[in-house]
Protein backbone atom coordinates (compact mmCIF):
# COMPACT_ATOMS: atom_id res chain seq x y z
CA UNK A 1 0.00 0.00 0.00
CA UNK A 2 1.46 3.36 -0.94
CA UNK A 3 1.54 6.42 1.26
CA UNK A 4 -1.23 8.44 -0.33
CA UNK A 5 -3.86 5.68 -0.05
CA UNK A 6 -2.75 5.24 3.56
CA UNK A 7 -3.39 8.96 4.08
CA UNK A 8 -6.81 8.64 2.47
CA UNK A 9 -7.67 5.79 4.84
CA UNK A 10 -6.04 7.20 7.96
CA UNK A 11 -7.50 10.73 7.96
CA UNK A 12 -11.18 9.61 8.06
CA UNK A 13 -10.26 7.09 10.78
CA UNK A 14 -8.61 9.89 12.79
CA UNK A 15 -11.72 12.04 12.62
CA UNK A 16 -13.92 9.08 13.54
CA UNK A 17 -11.68 8.39 16.56
CA UNK A 18 -12.12 11.99 17.71
CA UNK A 19 -15.90 11.69 17.28
CA UNK A 20 -15.94 8.42 19.23
CA UNK A 21 -13.89 9.99 22.03
CA UNK A 22 -16.46 12.72 22.36
CA UNK A 23 -19.36 10.26 22.35
CA UNK A 24 -17.67 8.17 25.06
CA UNK A 25 -16.42 10.91 27.37
CA UNK A 26 -18.92 13.74 27.07
CA UNK A 27 -22.20 13.94 28.99
CA UNK A 28 -25.44 13.93 27.06
CA UNK A 29 -28.31 15.71 28.78
CA UNK A 30 -30.55 17.39 26.20
CA UNK A 31 -33.66 19.33 27.16
CA UNK A 32 -36.04 21.32 25.07
CA UNK A 33 -34.56 24.79 25.42
CA UNK A 34 -31.08 23.47 24.76
CA UNK A 35 -31.88 21.68 21.52
CA UNK A 36 -34.05 24.40 20.01
CA UNK A 37 -32.64 26.58 17.24
CA UNK A 38 -30.53 29.57 18.29
CA UNK A 39 -32.49 32.84 18.39
CA UNK A 40 -30.75 35.21 20.82
CA UNK A 41 -32.77 33.97 23.77
CA UNK A 42 -36.20 34.16 22.15
CA UNK A 43 -38.28 31.28 20.88
CA UNK A 44 -37.48 30.73 17.20
CA UNK A 45 -40.33 31.49 14.82
CA UNK A 46 -41.21 28.50 12.65
CA UNK A 47 -40.86 28.79 8.87
CA UNK A 48 -38.01 31.28 8.90
CA UNK A 49 -35.27 28.74 8.37
CA UNK A 50 -34.08 27.68 4.94
CA UNK A 51 -35.93 30.60 3.44
CA UNK A 52 -35.53 31.76 -0.13
CA UNK A 53 -32.67 34.11 -0.87
CA UNK A 54 -31.49 36.59 -3.46
CA UNK A 55 -31.06 35.52 -7.08
CA UNK A 56 -27.58 37.08 -7.04
CA UNK A 57 -26.16 34.07 -5.21
CA UNK A 58 -27.35 31.85 -8.02
CA UNK A 59 -25.88 34.23 -10.59
CA UNK A 60 -22.54 34.16 -8.80
CA UNK A 61 -22.60 30.36 -8.91
CA UNK A 62 -23.45 30.17 -12.62
CA UNK A 63 -20.84 32.78 -13.58
CA UNK A 64 -18.34 30.89 -11.47
CA UNK A 65 -19.15 27.74 -13.44
CA UNK A 66 -18.47 29.48 -16.76
CA UNK A 67 -15.21 31.08 -15.63
CA UNK A 68 -14.03 27.89 -13.97
CA UNK A 69 -14.60 25.99 -17.21
CA UNK A 70 -12.70 28.69 -19.05
CA UNK A 71 -9.70 28.43 -16.72
CA UNK A 72 -9.81 24.65 -16.93
CA UNK A 73 -9.69 24.84 -20.73
CA UNK A 74 -6.73 27.22 -20.54
CA UNK A 75 -4.82 24.95 -18.12
CA UNK A 76 -3.47 22.51 -20.79
CA UNK A 77 -1.83 25.36 -22.72
CA UNK A 78 0.01 26.42 -19.57
CA UNK A 79 2.19 23.32 -19.76
CA UNK A 80 2.33 23.01 -23.55
CA UNK A 81 2.97 26.62 -24.52
CA UNK A 82 6.35 25.72 -25.98
CA UNK A 83 4.92 22.91 -28.10
CA UNK A 84 1.93 24.76 -29.56
CA UNK A 85 3.87 27.99 -30.08
CA UNK A 86 2.40 31.12 -31.58
CA UNK A 87 -0.48 29.31 -33.29
CA UNK A 88 -1.81 27.74 -30.12
CA UNK A 89 -1.32 30.96 -28.25
CA UNK A 90 -3.31 32.96 -30.81
CA UNK A 91 -6.10 30.38 -30.52
CA UNK A 92 -6.06 30.94 -26.77
CA UNK A 93 -6.24 34.69 -27.30
CA UNK A 94 -9.25 34.34 -29.60
CA UNK A 95 -10.83 32.08 -26.97
CA UNK A 96 -10.31 34.79 -24.39
CA UNK A 97 -11.53 37.63 -26.60
CA UNK A 98 -14.89 35.91 -27.10
CA UNK A 99 -15.21 35.43 -23.35
CA UNK A 100 -14.14 38.98 -22.63
CA UNK A 101 -17.26 40.13 -24.49
CA UNK A 102 -19.31 38.26 -21.91
CA UNK A 103 -17.15 39.61 -19.14
CA UNK A 104 -17.66 43.20 -20.27
CA UNK A 105 -21.39 42.55 -20.46
CA UNK A 106 -21.36 41.11 -16.95
CA UNK A 107 -19.59 44.15 -15.54
CA UNK A 108 -21.51 46.67 -17.68
CA UNK A 109 -24.98 45.36 -16.89
CA UNK A 110 -24.23 45.42 -13.18
CA UNK A 111 -25.52 41.88 -12.83
CA UNK A 112 -23.29 41.12 -9.88
CA UNK A 113 -24.20 44.33 -8.03
CA UNK A 114 -25.76 43.07 -4.82
CA UNK A 115 -26.18 46.46 -3.18
CA UNK A 116 -28.11 48.18 -6.00
CA UNK A 117 -30.52 45.30 -6.48
CA UNK A 118 -31.20 45.21 -2.75
CA UNK A 119 -32.29 48.86 -2.86
CA UNK A 120 -34.90 48.31 -5.58
Amino acid sequence: MDNISMLFIFVPILSLILLALNLLLAPHLPYEAKVSAYECGYVALPGQTRSTFQIQFYLVAILFLVFDLEILLILPIAVSLYQVGTFGFSVAVIFFIVLTIGFVLEIGSGAINISTSANH
Partner: protein
Amino acid sequence: MKNLFIDILAFGALLSSVLVITSKNPVIAVIFLISVFINAAGYLILLGIGFIGISYIILYVGAIAVLFLFVIMLLNIRLSDLLEAGSQYTKNIPLAIAIGLLFIYEIFTIIPFRIHDVSLISSLLNLITNLNELFLTSDISTLNVVYNTINPILADSTFTNFTQIQALGQSLYTFGAFWLIITSVILLLAMVAPIFITHKSNK
Protein backbone atom coordinates in the same frame (compact mmCIF):
# COMPACT_ATOMS: atom_id res chain seq x y z
CA MET B 1 -4.80 -3.49 -4.68
CA LYS B 2 -5.43 -0.92 -7.38
CA ASN B 3 -7.98 -3.19 -9.05
CA LEU B 4 -9.78 -3.59 -5.76
CA PHE B 5 -9.96 0.20 -5.34
CA ILE B 6 -11.23 0.60 -8.90
CA ASP B 7 -13.94 -1.98 -8.28
CA ILE B 8 -14.96 -0.32 -5.03
CA LEU B 9 -15.17 3.08 -6.72
CA ALA B 10 -17.21 1.70 -9.63
CA PHE B 11 -19.57 0.00 -7.23
CA GLY B 12 -19.82 3.17 -5.15
CA ALA B 13 -20.66 5.21 -8.23
CA LEU B 14 -23.41 2.79 -9.25
CA LEU B 15 -24.83 2.54 -5.74
CA SER B 16 -24.93 6.28 -5.21
CA SER B 17 -26.46 6.87 -8.65
CA VAL B 18 -29.27 4.54 -7.65
CA LEU B 19 -29.62 6.42 -4.37
CA VAL B 20 -29.82 9.73 -6.25
CA ILE B 21 -33.11 8.74 -7.86
CA THR B 22 -34.53 6.89 -4.88
CA SER B 23 -33.93 9.46 -2.15
CA LYS B 24 -36.93 11.61 -1.31
CA ASN B 25 -35.24 14.76 -0.07
CA PRO B 26 -33.76 16.75 -3.00
CA VAL B 27 -30.77 17.97 -0.97
CA ILE B 28 -29.90 14.40 0.01
CA ALA B 29 -30.21 13.44 -3.67
CA VAL B 30 -27.65 16.11 -4.56
CA ILE B 31 -25.33 14.72 -1.89
CA PHE B 32 -25.47 11.33 -3.55
CA LEU B 33 -24.91 13.05 -6.90
CA ILE B 34 -21.72 14.57 -5.46
CA SER B 35 -20.77 11.09 -4.30
CA VAL B 36 -21.28 9.81 -7.87
CA PHE B 37 -19.00 12.51 -9.22
CA ILE B 38 -16.30 11.89 -6.63
CA ASN B 39 -16.41 8.15 -7.22
CA ALA B 40 -16.21 8.63 -10.98
CA ALA B 41 -13.33 11.06 -10.57
CA GLY B 42 -11.45 8.64 -8.33
CA TYR B 43 -12.09 5.89 -10.87
CA LEU B 44 -10.64 8.02 -13.68
CA ILE B 45 -7.61 9.02 -11.58
CA LEU B 46 -6.88 5.41 -10.67
CA LEU B 47 -7.19 4.43 -14.33
CA GLY B 48 -4.44 6.95 -15.03
CA ILE B 49 -6.51 9.72 -16.61
CA GLY B 50 -5.55 12.13 -13.87
CA PHE B 51 -6.31 15.46 -15.47
CA ILE B 52 -9.82 14.50 -16.58
CA GLY B 53 -10.52 13.02 -13.16
CA ILE B 54 -9.39 16.13 -11.29
CA SER B 55 -11.27 18.43 -13.66
CA TYR B 56 -14.33 16.30 -12.87
CA ILE B 57 -13.91 17.22 -9.21
CA ILE B 58 -13.15 20.89 -9.89
CA LEU B 59 -16.01 21.36 -12.34
CA TYR B 60 -18.79 18.93 -11.52
CA VAL B 61 -18.34 18.86 -7.78
CA GLY B 62 -16.94 22.33 -7.27
CA ALA B 63 -19.24 24.24 -9.58
CA ILE B 64 -22.17 22.29 -11.01
CA ALA B 65 -23.27 20.58 -7.81
CA VAL B 66 -23.04 23.90 -5.91
CA LEU B 67 -25.30 25.35 -8.59
CA PHE B 68 -27.79 22.50 -8.14
CA LEU B 69 -27.77 23.02 -4.39
CA PHE B 70 -28.33 26.75 -4.82
CA VAL B 71 -31.28 26.09 -7.13
CA ILE B 72 -32.82 23.60 -4.71
CA MET B 73 -32.29 25.88 -1.73
CA LEU B 74 -33.52 28.89 -3.72
CA LEU B 75 -36.77 27.21 -4.67
CA ASN B 76 -37.20 25.90 -1.12
CA ILE B 77 -39.40 22.99 -2.16
CA ARG B 78 -41.53 21.44 0.52
CA LEU B 79 -41.30 17.68 0.60
CA SER B 80 -45.07 17.18 0.34
CA ASP B 81 -45.29 19.35 -2.81
CA LEU B 82 -42.58 17.30 -4.38
CA LEU B 83 -44.32 14.00 -3.71
CA GLU B 84 -47.54 15.41 -5.13
CA ALA B 85 -45.81 16.60 -8.27
CA GLY B 86 -43.92 13.34 -8.54
CA SER B 87 -47.10 11.35 -9.00
CA GLN B 88 -47.92 13.29 -12.15
CA TYR B 89 -44.62 12.46 -13.79
CA THR B 90 -45.51 8.83 -14.35
CA LYS B 91 -47.25 9.80 -17.58
CA ASN B 92 -43.85 10.75 -18.96
CA ILE B 93 -42.48 7.22 -18.63
CA PRO B 94 -42.75 6.43 -22.39
CA LEU B 95 -40.69 9.55 -23.13
CA ALA B 96 -38.11 8.49 -20.57
CA ILE B 97 -37.90 5.01 -22.08
CA ALA B 98 -37.51 6.48 -25.58
CA ILE B 99 -34.69 8.80 -24.49
CA GLY B 100 -33.01 6.00 -22.57
CA LEU B 101 -33.13 3.66 -25.56
CA LEU B 102 -31.76 6.38 -27.81
CA PHE B 103 -28.90 6.90 -25.38
CA ILE B 104 -28.09 3.21 -25.21
CA TYR B 105 -28.22 3.00 -28.99
CA GLU B 106 -25.80 5.88 -29.30
CA ILE B 107 -23.42 4.46 -26.75
CA PHE B 108 -23.39 1.03 -28.37
CA THR B 109 -22.79 2.67 -31.74
CA ILE B 110 -20.00 4.94 -30.63
CA ILE B 111 -18.08 2.69 -28.30
CA PRO B 112 -16.75 -0.22 -30.27
CA PHE B 113 -16.45 -3.22 -28.00
CA ARG B 114 -17.25 -6.85 -28.53
CA ILE B 115 -18.57 -9.33 -26.05
CA HIS B 116 -18.44 -12.81 -27.49
CA ASP B 117 -19.30 -14.72 -24.39
CA VAL B 118 -22.78 -13.45 -23.71
CA SER B 119 -25.04 -14.42 -26.59
CA LEU B 120 -27.78 -11.94 -25.68
CA ILE B 121 -25.49 -8.91 -25.75
CA SER B 122 -23.70 -9.99 -28.91
CA SER B 123 -26.99 -10.52 -30.71
CA LEU B 124 -28.10 -7.06 -29.52
CA LEU B 125 -24.87 -5.58 -30.83
CA ASN B 126 -25.35 -7.32 -34.15
CA LEU B 127 -28.86 -5.88 -34.34
CA ILE B 128 -27.50 -2.41 -33.72
CA THR B 129 -24.80 -2.87 -36.33
CA ASN B 130 -27.46 -3.92 -38.82
CA LEU B 131 -29.54 -0.88 -37.91
CA ASN B 132 -26.53 1.31 -38.45
CA GLU B 133 -25.98 -0.12 -41.87
CA LEU B 134 -29.59 0.66 -42.63
CA PHE B 135 -29.38 4.27 -41.52
CA LEU B 136 -25.82 5.25 -42.29
CA THR B 137 -23.72 4.69 -45.34
CA SER B 138 -21.71 1.53 -45.45
CA ASP B 139 -18.37 3.14 -44.63
CA ILE B 140 -18.75 4.32 -41.07
CA SER B 141 -15.93 6.83 -41.29
CA THR B 142 -17.20 9.11 -38.55
CA LEU B 143 -17.29 6.20 -36.15
CA ASN B 144 -13.67 5.44 -36.96
CA VAL B 145 -12.75 9.01 -36.15
CA VAL B 146 -14.42 8.70 -32.78
CA TYR B 147 -12.72 5.34 -32.26
CA ASN B 148 -9.34 6.89 -32.98
CA THR B 149 -10.04 9.73 -30.61
CA ILE B 150 -11.01 7.62 -27.66
CA ASN B 151 -8.15 5.18 -28.25
CA PRO B 152 -5.03 7.18 -27.54
CA ILE B 153 -2.82 4.29 -28.64
CA LEU B 154 -3.79 4.94 -32.25
CA ALA B 155 -3.26 8.68 -32.13
CA ASP B 156 -0.09 10.40 -33.30
CA SER B 157 0.78 11.41 -29.78
CA THR B 158 2.30 8.00 -29.09
CA PHE B 159 5.43 8.90 -31.03
CA THR B 160 6.47 11.86 -28.90
CA ASN B 161 7.15 11.70 -25.22
CA PHE B 162 4.45 14.00 -23.88
CA THR B 163 2.95 13.96 -20.47
CA GLN B 164 -0.77 13.36 -20.66
CA ILE B 165 -1.76 16.96 -20.10
CA GLN B 166 0.79 18.22 -22.60
CA ALA B 167 -0.66 15.87 -25.20
CA LEU B 168 -4.08 17.26 -24.35
CA GLY B 169 -2.92 20.83 -24.75
CA GLN B 170 -1.10 19.94 -27.96
CA SER B 171 -4.18 18.47 -29.60
CA LEU B 172 -6.65 20.96 -28.13
CA TYR B 173 -4.77 24.03 -29.29
CA THR B 174 -3.74 22.79 -32.73
CA PHE B 175 -6.13 20.22 -34.18
CA GLY B 176 -9.06 21.10 -31.96
CA ALA B 177 -8.68 24.88 -32.22
CA PHE B 178 -11.93 25.26 -34.12
CA TRP B 179 -13.86 23.30 -31.52
CA LEU B 180 -12.27 25.34 -28.78
CA ILE B 181 -13.50 28.58 -30.32
CA ILE B 182 -16.98 27.11 -30.72
CA THR B 183 -16.78 26.18 -27.03
CA SER B 184 -15.96 29.77 -26.19
CA VAL B 185 -19.07 30.95 -28.08
CA ILE B 186 -21.19 28.43 -26.17
CA LEU B 187 -19.68 29.63 -22.90
CA LEU B 188 -20.43 33.20 -23.92
CA LEU B 189 -24.08 32.27 -24.45
CA ALA B 190 -24.11 30.48 -21.10
CA MET B 191 -22.83 33.66 -19.49
CA VAL B 192 -25.17 36.06 -21.28
CA ALA B 193 -28.41 34.16 -20.72
CA PRO B 194 -28.49 34.10 -16.90
CA ILE B 195 -27.33 37.72 -16.75
CA PHE B 196 -30.31 38.83 -18.79
CA ILE B 197 -32.78 36.51 -17.10
CA THR B 198 -31.86 37.82 -13.67
CA HIS B 199 -31.58 41.40 -14.94
CA LYS B 200 -35.19 41.57 -16.10
CA SER B 201 -36.56 40.41 -12.77
CA ASN B 202 -34.87 43.26 -10.92
CA LYS B 203 -36.99 45.95 -12.53
